[in-house]
């Protein structure tokens, strides 16, 4: 698996983790380049469907990160998000979606080092787990794809 370059999607909040990731860069800390960062107003805004869509579109791993509890710019967005992720992770487990590939974390604007560590450790773990084919494969085999390829007339 040494030639496997994982794709990792990070859903981060604008106020803490995005600023934290900025700090990682301005502090010249090197971290794994596999991550594609998507900036959200708040972790409370990260719809669980977006995570499923990321897997559908070929992500091998996902990071969701925002402000520490009590630090939310909107007071309670991360608290709501935390409840949602507790339920989400359990449902993923129950339906057989590999929740080991999803890293949840709190990274503040001052924690540039922690962000580098989160990305690096997630990348290592995903490399260890290998490409996530199971999820995206069934959409490739599915009806839409046949339709798009033109093998089904309609």
């Amino acid at each position: 698996m040494s030639d496997f370059t994982p794709k990792i999607t990070a859903f981060v909040c604008n106020w803490c983790t995005y600023a934290g990731a900025d700090l990682t860069g301005t502090s010249r800390m090197k971290y794994s380049a596999n991550v594609k960062i998507i900036r959200f107003p708040c972790t409370g805004r990260v719809d669980f469907m977006l995570l499923l869509k990321a897997f559908d579109n070929g992500a091998d791993g996902i990071i969701v990160s925002g402000c520490h509890p009590n630090d939310c710019h909107y007071t309670s967005g991360n608290f709501h998000a935390r409840r949602r992720w507790i339920v989400f992770r359990n449902l993923c487990d129950f339906m057989g979606i590999d929740s080991r590939r999803i890293t949840f974390s709190w990274v503040s604007a001052a924690e540039g080092g922690k962000w580098a560590e989160i990305v690096n450790s997630t990348t290592e773990k995903v490399i260890e787990l290998g490409p996530y084919k199971r999820y995206s494969q069934i959409s490739k085999d599915g009806f839409i794809n046949e339709f798009e390829k033109g093998t089904i007339n309609g």
Partner: protein, 267 residues
């Protein structure tokens, strides 16, 4: 059952309610929902083991609302439905008369919803044993086996949305599944789309499911989709120690939070 009929007749005679939603004898030994509007029809009301449909689903339908003041024959899941719908501002507190049927099959006459809350504190419905066993069986599989299990189980789903229509909690006028900008879930039945649809349904019902099991019963293909929402109820109970629909004062689990919610996976 006689006390239920007597009460129904009295309510209609005194014009306290205009329509009673209850169970009627159907053809070939089936029961169906009945809308009783005259005192003479009250004797058509039945209640036995076959009466499992969650009649609460009709409370948010406009054509039923137009019938006037409503009463509803309510086994425990329907009582919980009424309380959730009240909290979620779909019905006004005490506006729908509840003709309760207790866990032991006894008729319960509730004057106000506070009485239902009191009754439910120690008479809440549990998941049926066979469903508990199935959930345990699925939970004991490995992640890959579970994925294959659900993939195979949900593959035949034709996306008729009977599970959605049967569920009293799925009352959105426009479901997310019908949104096409962006298109979250493919319209037609497809392997991934089916997984996504049932995943989404389970998430939207987490902390709101009353455990009536109507979604699974309504499925024309016999897919046990209720296991997903039942599992979510278990998760919510384990993590937040709450059950849906026991009170009209507290929001559902996912629309609120506690500063000290416990988790072990966020780094």
């Amino acid at each position: 059952m006689d006390s239920l009929r007597r009460k129904a007749q009295q309510l209609l005679e005194s014009k306290e309610v205009d329509c009673i939603i209850g169970y009627n004898e159907g053809s070939s030994g089936n029961v169906h929902a009945g809308f009783i509007t005259t005192p003479g029809q009250a004797e058509k009301l039945i209640f036995d083991d076959r009466c499992k449909q969650n009649l609460g689903v009709y409370l948010t339908k406009h054509e039923v609302m137009r019938l006037g003041k409503l009463a509803i024959v309510a086994p425990v899941p329907v009582m919980r439905t009424v309380l959730i719908l009240t909290y979620e501002c779909q019905i006004v507190e005490n506006s729908v008369k509840v003709l309760g049927i207790g866990l032991d099959g006894q008729f319960l006459d509730f004057n106000e919803y506070a009485d239902i809350e009191k009754y439910l504190t120690d008479h809440c419905n549990e998941h049926p044993e066979e469903d508990k066993k199935l959930i345990e069986k699925i939970s004991a599989m490995s992640v890959e086996e579970r994925w294959d299990f659900w993939h195979e189980t949900l593959k035949p789903c034709i996306k008729c949305f009977a599970c959605r229509q049967a569920c009293p909690m799925c009352y959105c006028v426009r479901c997310q599944v019908e949104c096409n900008q962006p298109q979250w879930i493919p319209v037609q039945s497809s392997e991934l789309g089916n997984m996504e649809w049932h995943f989404m349904r389970a998430m939207h019902l987490a902390g709101r499911c009353t455990g009536c099991g109507d979604c699974g019963r309504s499925c024309p293909l016999g897919i046990p989709v209720h296991l997903l929402t039942f599992k979510m109820s278990d998760v919510v109970l384990d993590n937040f120690n709450t059950k849906a629909g026991l009170t009209i004062k507290e929001p559902s689990t996912l629309s609120t939070y506690k500063a000290n919610d416990k988790e072990t996976f966020i780094r």
